[in-house]
């Protein structure tokens, strides 16, 4: 009996020692050069969505430059809050980065008590910039902005516009439009861009506020017409469509998606990641695939991206004070 007990004690001690050694050596792995293991990329929306596709596509090319796998972790829900919060509280060691989307990453902390704030992130680079557009169904009423404004002024609160949801970039843009042009429209929120597009195509709503990437295929198919784009310059894909500013109405809106890291991530690592994604976003194969997906790209480096986020945040905070988009 004593022999058996001795043997068991011996084996148990070896196991414990091995475990301790393993834990010790695990730490020293981290001391090696970055990146020495795969990097997690948090996406705050579910698999298959626009952000997810862009992330997975870019990852394919970025992995080559990073020399480590990039693994997408989908943490969707609460309009992005769950995923953003996940990123915000991750370890700032460079092994967790994530995609942040405007305006949710700015509006959520403004409109409610959120589990993150814009300051929790270090912006690395912006990738996608999808400007807002105002669309109508072809042959269904107004075909210019002027006619729309005229009609809306004659019948306040009657002209309906659909968006992908309350508090989204489409909704905020239309609130801005109403204010600038002195109109009163009727907002019909949908559960995402897809149902809103169906409603427009079916003639159930008069207008659709959406993003360029979403409506382009339908424009090409001759079903929809864009009245104006919410961008500073005309869009390459819609060269004959005026911007709102050109019509004297100051509405600029877009959905921007980029990559960020939790606050506290070392500067050197941020620079390294920025380099990787810059190179990846310039690869001809990536540009080709992004073109096929009609992903409007607009690379901003860390400084420019941070400035963009900050100034938009200031604007949104002011908008909320004057005209909160939720009660």
């Amino acid at each position: 009996m004593k022999e058996m007990q001795k043997k068991k004690l011996f084996i148990a001690t070896i196991c414990v020692l091995v475990t301790i050694l393993g834990l010790v050596f695990q730490d020293s792995v981290r001391a090696q050069t970055y990146p020495s293991k795969p990097v997690t990329v948090v996406v705050a929306y579910s698999a298959g969505g626009g952000t997810d596709i862009a992330a997975r596509l870019l990852n394919q090319f970025a992995e080559k430059h990073l020399k480590q796998p990039l693994v997408v972790l989908n943490k969707g829900g609460a309009g992005g809050e769950i995923g953003f919060a996940e990123l915000a509280k991750s370890r700032p060691d460079g092994y967790t980065i994530g995609w942040i989307n405007t305006p949710p990453v700015q509006t959520i902390p403004i409109q409610r008590k959120a589990a993150f704030s814009l300051d929790d992130f270090i912006p690395i680079c912006n990738i996608v910039y999808d400007p807002g557009v105002l669309a109508v169904r072809i042959g269904y009423g107004f075909d210019t902005i002027e006619k729309l404004i005229e009609e809306a002024k004659k019948h306040p609160g009657v002209v309906t516009y659909g968006t992908s949801g309350i508090g989204g970039d489409d909704h905020l843009a239309m609130l801005g439009f109403e204010k600038e042009a002195g109109l009163k429209l009727a907002h019909v929120p949908f559960d995402g861009a897809a149902p809103a597009m169906i409603a427009l195509l079916g003639g159930h709503i008069n207008l659709l506020a959406a993003n360029e990437g979403e409506v382009l295929p339908h424009v090409r198919a001759g079903k929809m017409k864009i009245l104006a784009v919410m961008n500073e310059k005309r869009l390459a894909s819609l060269a004959d469509v005026p911007t709102f500013q050109q019509k004297g109405i100051n509405v600029i809106s877009a959905s921007a998606r980029g990559i960020a890291a939790p606050k506290g991530t070392p500067e050197a690592i941020i620079k390294q990641i920025e380099e990787v994604f810059l190179k990846a976003s310039r690869e001809p194969e990536f540009l080709k695939k992004a073109g096929e997906l009609e992903l409007p790209l607009y690379f901003l480096d860390s400084k420019a991206y941070a400035e963009f986020l900050r100034s938009q945040n200031v604007f949104l905070k002011a908008l909320w004070e004057k005209q909160p988009w939720l009660k």
Binding site: A47, G48, R56, A78, I82, A186, I198, L201, A221, L326
Partner: protein, 502 residues
């Protein structure tokens, strides 16, 4: 006809060895995804998409689609054998399928389910082939008022289908409506019943609730039996194959289920689940022996299983013709397409005929593969019942946990599943059927959203529901239905009165 020649061309694409192989891979994975409780087609597709990166677009599309409709075949297996739905749309199959298994007719149920799925798949591909563009336009004519009226109709028709007392059923439906209201109000942005928890901002997902109230609750109920009276589940295998009269009763149900399911797929929302419920309700009403429902009526397996497959086929119509996904899994499938550089749109049929017809042809091929795979496996699956419950139940629980987590990488979903599992266990003890609750949770939010959108469009006037023909028709049918049910109920109570007076 031009369609036939295009289809033949499609077959030449679909039968290419590489496409054949990946079609096979897709449907096998789909069946697996369907069989595993908790892991549904959306999760399976999301996991498979990265594997398609290097593939030729047509091949990728064939494989991904195969996974989706394949998952509707597999879902019935666990429903029938262990009363746990393989995925949400197979919930209804549990009701009759499991009862059939208890009577030793598991094989028959499995076979009928496989054949029904095949018939549904074939019919829906046929419809897809001939009617895709006009159907898509018809789908567009459904606006918020029509959705509302449709939801009202669905609720009126489906709510009474709970087994047991009607009052209890209504109570569960009301509970479902209440649960469905949790989350952010879609029109005003108010938070309802979220108690400050951000995980509840999107509401209580119905998939974890289904897995819990049907899956975990079943595990708990069975486990209790094992403790109280350990018994090995004896199943007689003298009749693995359905008898001729069972076929006779089933084939009509399959056709009805297929048609219902296909058209349900044209409506946005979780159409396979709704189609399955709808088919069950239809079969129960049309049956010559309605008393048998709840105790193993084979139509209650054939119809719903056909319906959920057909709904997947139907959902392909708006996806391929408009490029708009009507169910969450379709959304994931769409992105799989997008990654391949395929943007479904009205021009897809003309721009990429190889792809479109290759896909259609591959659906015929895939459906047939599934039938050939599933039928011989009926015996194998049925023998799972021989495995001791003390091994089977923990395994099933494990899969449910993995599945619930895989929805959103969230522990909250697991919590919801377990919570509703315990709740479902007590519900069973008290003889309450959770099915109306699920219906309430799904239909309620859709109904409310559609109602309020319609009222915005009409500036507050309810007239809009009656001035639009489609909506008016559906509301009238719902009204007639209600009236009819009330009259029947009054007659029923009169009879009882009459009998007791005698």
């Amino acid at each position: 006809m031009e369609v036939i020649s295009s289809l033949l061309h499609g077959f030449s694409v679909a039968l290419m060895p590489v496409n054949l192989f990946y079609c096979f891979v897709g449907v096998i994975l789909g069946t697996l995804v369907g069989v595993l409780p908790g892991v549904g087609p959306a999760a399976g597709l999301a996991l498979l998409i990265p594997a398609t990166f290097g593939m030729h677009p047509t091949t990728a599309v064939i494989m991904l689609s195969g996974l989706y409709y394949g998952s509707m075949y597999g879902g019935s297996t666990t429903s029938i054998l262990v009363n746990i739905p393989g995925e949400a749309a197979s919930v209804v199959t549990c009701i009759e399928g499991y009862q059939m298994a208890k009577r030793g007719r598991a094989g028959a149920a499995l076979a009928v389910s496989a054949v029904g799925s095949w018939i549904a798949g074939t019919i829906s591909v046929l419809f897809l082939m001939f009617f895709a563009p006009p159907l898509a336009s018809a789908a567009l004519s459904f606006g918020p008022p029509e959705y509302f009226s449709l939801m009202v109709l669905a609720f009126v028709v489906l709510a009474p289908l709970s087994s047991g007392s009607a009052t209890k059923g209504l109570f569960m439906a009301a509970l479902g409506l209440m649960l469905g209201s949790v989350g952010i109000d879609p029109i005003s942005g108010y938070q309802r019943f979220t108690f400050g928890r951000r995980e509840l901002l999107d509401g209580i997902g119905f998939v974890p609730v289904v897995m819990g109230a049907f899956g975990i609750a079943e595990v708990l109920t069975s486990a209790e039996k094992v403790f109280l009276r350990p018994e090995v589940f004896r199943v007689k295998f003298w009749d693995l194959w359905p008898k001729w009269f069972e076929w006779a009763r089933s084939w009509a149900a399959m056709i009805r289920g297929s048609l219902l399911g296909f058209f349900a797929g044209l409506i946005p929302g979780p159409s396979p689940v709704i189609a399955a419920f709808g088919s069950y309700a239809v079969e129960k009403r049309m049956s010559k022996n309605p008393k048998e429902f709840g105790h193993g009526a084979i139509e209650g397996v054939a119809g719903p299983e056909a319906a959920n497959n057909a709904a997947v086929g139907g959902a392909f119509v708006p996806l391929l013709s408009l490029g708009i996904p009507f169910t969450p899994a379709m959304g994931v499938l769409l992105s799989g397409f997008l990654i391949q550089g395929i943007r479904p749109s009205p021009m897809l049929i003309n721009d990429k005929p190889d792809l479109f017809w290759g896909l259609i042809a591959s659906m015929y091929v895939g459906n047939s593969m599934l039938l050939i795979l599933n039928l011989p496996l009926v015996g194998v699956f049925a023998s799972i019942l021989r495995v001791s419950q003390s091994i089977l139940l923990p395994l099933v629980t494990l899969f449910c946990l993995i599945g619930a987590y895989s929805l959103n990488n969230s522990l909250v979903d697991i919590g919801i599943m377990i919570g509703f599992g315990v709740f479902g266990y007590f519900l069973r003890k008290a003889d309450y059927d959770p099915a109306p609750m699920i219906l309430g949770m799904i239909l309620g939010p859709m109904m409310e959203r559609a109602l309020r959108q319609s009222l915005v469009i009409s500036q507050g006037s309810s007239e809009i529901f009656f001035s639009r023909p489609l909506s008016a028709i559906m509301l009238s049918i719902a009204g007639i239905f209600l009236l009819y049910s009330m009259i029947r109920w009054i007659q029923g109570t009169q009879k009882v009165k009459g009998a007791s007076e005698v």
